[in-house]
Symmetry: D2
Subunit: 334 residues, 4 copies
Amino acid sequence: MNTIGKILSLKTFGESHGPAMGGVLDGMPAGVEIDLDELQRFVDRRRTGQHTGSSTRDEKDRVEVLSGIWQGKTLGTPIGFVVRNADARSADYDKIARCYRPNHADYTWEVKYGIRDPRGGGRASARETVARVVAGGIALQTLDSLGITIESRIVQVGPRLGVAEMEQAVIDAAKDGDTLGGIIACTVKGVPAGLGEPVFGKLHAQLAAAMMSIPSVHGFEYGDGFEMAAKRGSEVMDQFVKHEDGTIGTVTNHSGGIQGGISNGEDIVMRIAFKPVPTLMRDVPTIDRDGNPVTLHPRGRHDVCVLQRALPVVEAMAALVILDNYLIKKTNVL
Amino acid sequence: MNTIGKILSLKTFGESHGPAMGGVLDGMPAGVEIDLDELQRFVDRRRTGQHTGSSTRDEKDRVEVLSGIWQGKTLGTPIGFVVRNADARSADYDKIARCYRPNHADYTWEVKYGIRDPRGGGRASARETVARVVAGGIALQTLDSLGITIESRIVQVGPRLGVAEMEQAVIDAAKDGDTLGGIIACTVKGVPAGLGEPVFGKLHAQLAAAMMSIPSVHGFEYGDGFEMAAKRGSEVMDQFVKHEDGTIGTVTNHSGGIQGGISNGEDIVMRIAFKPVPTLMRDVPTIDRDGNPVTLHPRGRHDVCVLQRALPVVEAMAALVILDNYLIKKTNVL
Amino acid sequence: MNTIGKILSLKTFGESHGPAMGGVLDGMPAGVEIDLDELQRFVDRRRTGQHTGSSTRDEKDRVEVLSGIWQGKTLGTPIGFVVRNADARSADYDKIARCYRPNHADYTWEVKYGIRDPRGGGRASARETVARVVAGGIALQTLDSLGITIESRIVQVGPRLGVAEMEQAVIDAAKDGDTLGGIIACTVKGVPAGLGEPVFGKLHAQLAAAMMSIPSVHGFEYGDGFEMAAKRGSEVMDQFVKHEDGTIGTVTNHSGGIQGGISNGEDIVMRIAFKPVPTLMRDVPTIDRDGNPVTLHPRGRHDVCVLQRALPVVEAMAALVILDNYLIKKTNVL
Amino acid sequence: MNTIGKILSLKTFGESHGPAMGGVLDGMPAGVEIDLDELQRFVDRRRTGQHTGSSTRDEKDRVEVLSGIWQGKTLGTPIGFVVRNADARSADYDKIARCYRPNHADYTWEVKYGIRDPRGGGRASARETVARVVAGGIALQTLDSLGITIESRIVQVGPRLGVAEMEQAVIDAAKDGDTLGGIIACTVKGVPAGLGEPVFGKLHAQLAAAMMSIPSVHGFEYGDGFEMAAKRGSEVMDQFVKHEDGTIGTVTNHSGGIQGGISNGEDIVMRIAFKPVPTLMRDVPTIDRDGNPVTLHPRGRHDVCVLQRALPVVEAMAALVILDNYLIKKTNVL
């Protein structure tokens, strides 16, 4: 259940304030060189305290690889790893354990399991994404050796589109004890044609599931996405062309690099919409387990906007999906 | 690969102009009453020739159930079914087999497998959705017995939003030999709180994958979706409320009935964006397998806009996901 | 649930006296030549009425392939197929529907599902193996093109080991209205070294699961099997040797071609034990649904011994496992 | 790949001389009380240095649970755990890394992955079973709360069947620098009728796969097993009986508690055959990577017979399979 991927599969575990987050990346091909320092740097991109509007909580997030990599190379065995939860504070969780924070998973989690770890959101915390970034970082290095690269960037924060405006929007929201969401665009370059499974496993369906599984994501589109719904067929037709080097491509890329669920060799282009952070730095009225009204007072350190920290998560999820499909492709012929 | 779902799983097969489309719906609980006439009527909603802008090809699409239902009830065994491809015409496919139609899967399919059935798009044809509708229709009847209902409607065709305008838009596009896409909204009512798997199997991630796997879909959002990216946290907060009957709900539903990937008992609300039909009724320039320029002349009977026919497909996919998660939920406690 | 295999996966469906048995073989690589006449002949080996001690019921078992093979080659798409249940007799099943036949699945099935199709055992009938043989026959042809061959033979019938004695044992048991089991040995030749997944997916663990899933099987062993438990380590050591052609092999094959769960290039050798057929041709006392004693009188046509008919089933299961692992192997390196 | 189970699934990781062994037990129902001290005691049963004939290497094997259990109860989230490899010695592995030990996985592993961790057998070491025992111990406690218990015992060591004789057999083999295998019998009591999936997921097929995946296992049988092949149908018929408490059972249990792949409420009985330990305490001739003859001299500390240590592994695997099927059963009806 806590797993994604078919050949290359990642299973993660960990509660926000338990001993550690971690995961197992299974199905990694053998003999791939992995630079653990580079991996640590990638994971560091997700840390708090580095960006305008991100929490000042100091998470060290040191990656400890427990298996599957030896002398700098993958063994083909599962890569187990943990990241300790160093900064968890002991606290009186009695009250919060009885309250349902709005737009959080407290209520739904409790209905589903009849029990929940209330400390820092437990497993519902976005802290679980650290395991995605570790695994995704390994996949990214592997893709890099294949000439496949992944880039992501923030294209909208709240209602703002320009870089300078976006930073100011975060500062303004913070002043009001409020929060912001936004949109991240992600591009995968160098993907060979032929990746993706038709019907239910279309490459963009897999990417959608991967991105929608990131906490706070409320929308996904690829190529021209929702705008495509307003266009005529003749306006979004990607004409084929034979390049001088003999390869086949398309003149435009309304299709976002995927046709019929299979990559066509053009850049894979997608956009992911994040809702605003649900925890406000102001009093918030809600109810407790018995339905009684209560007021939540701001406490702890929280992000105003998570988009900077979400960039490596988006890249990690894209990397896991693309590498998995690269491996699946190998089984399409004898 | 051609499978969706964990406990309730659907595997489909079939090429557009082969002997039959079909599938196996496995994991259906035993003892559920299924009305096969009602199922046939549901499948008929997907047929051609019934709507403005849909192809005039007459597909009978008679569902033949081969197993798993006996004396009107499910046996708990896999439900195998076929729908014959009655109306396939023999034709000279030599030319089309060598050409890559723009925005179709001809090229990507050929790169992936090194071989393809060019007749009517083979398995890349949207005809494969007939198997989804059969299986989804069975899931819908099951959900109905649980008080869970699914509705879908067209909310945009091309750039048009009003019902009268939408029909005219199709007529106009058809005159120009052009095609349209649009947006379908889908609402699931009566879902109990607690369905969906946190982390990678979030309910909306599963729904996204299911909807994005429908041919021509380029975008998915739930709740306030992409608009949420432009809002502040305080603007989209769904306050909890205790209803008079003692149940807990929310005052607003920006979250679209899902929090932390788990249903909260409110309506599940989502929107799905379709690209315009890729086959135009006019000459289209493209290239053949060797990269030589060729012109495709309009032939056959094709949809101008598929949204009417896509409604039962959207409902079917939603039903499969919701029922699967209903069953998974049973395993969350001893 | 009704599925076996990871990359190459078979899902089957069908009740013994329903409209048809069938299945979907998914994950077959594209471009493989399949001879459908040869496939039919392989399926015919499983038919009744051909061997001493097998039922005289005439099952035509004509294989109808519905998808995935075109112009004699696999398309890489799922191969859907059905085999009609032509010879099912209408009958009064009221009594049998209320009785639990000893050593059959009537009782367990009813407890599990709360409902069962009593006609001919429903899905619990060994008739379901016809779908295995169809899919396995396709896998066998594929393996053959890779130089991998599978042989099976009966090595014991009841307590008898010699061919002439075995036939006589069946005749004797039939006279008494009794039945027999036995042991089948299966050898896979030409398997390259390196197939099989360590830990839970060991090649012999997969083979064991596949063989134990065949109706009536009660035991599985590979290499020297149970006899190995009585030996010392020095007695079963397979010494490595470098052959003149430079390949590495072993002098003996106590290990049965598998070491550490991975094939080593030697013949894969296994033995499968079948219990006697549970349906006797004599009065059998049992109880009905309410616990009242009843006597079952012999009716219908049943096998005295199923081993001849089981040979192609054993070969089919072996073929599915080996080909699946051949494909998985492709993903072990980039 | 390194995973077993459908709803309750265990994924393990770890190389014998890497930092740690570990695993993730996913799908555990929420709210189950787990006694971590009892768990540690169960894991201790697998340790070396406690039995006649087992290695004197001191493995502490302290279980560290990283997630999924809080305040003594399961959260419904994945249970991540690690067991550090405390006693690994640094050594010169250059020679051993070039040699293929007979009846070990050195050669097959190298062919499969092109790379292997030679230290102590890497992931091919039976040390991986420590993760099975941790997860299985959690499953055992859960089953215990349901009234389901699992027992295992050694019934044969080498050619010896009596307890006193078995111990002597180990002492004798050790004197000769030789090793022994044997047979373990395992019984599961209190399993409700109705567990197991017909066709490919038969309960005994799942048990077979689980047991055959334990290192050194070469054979599996349930009920009367291989002996059943020599019997007539009338000799192994388990007559149904209605007990005084109204429940239905069978008078005999030749079927081993499973009929048609589904539990019938009687004891589940199975036997598992282990080959002798492959590492001898004497000089062993073999070849190196280039095919040159080499002699392996005895070094390190190794088991003469692993059966005592294998008992908790057998129980653990049985527990994982039974609990998984207990959960699956919940989805058979709405």
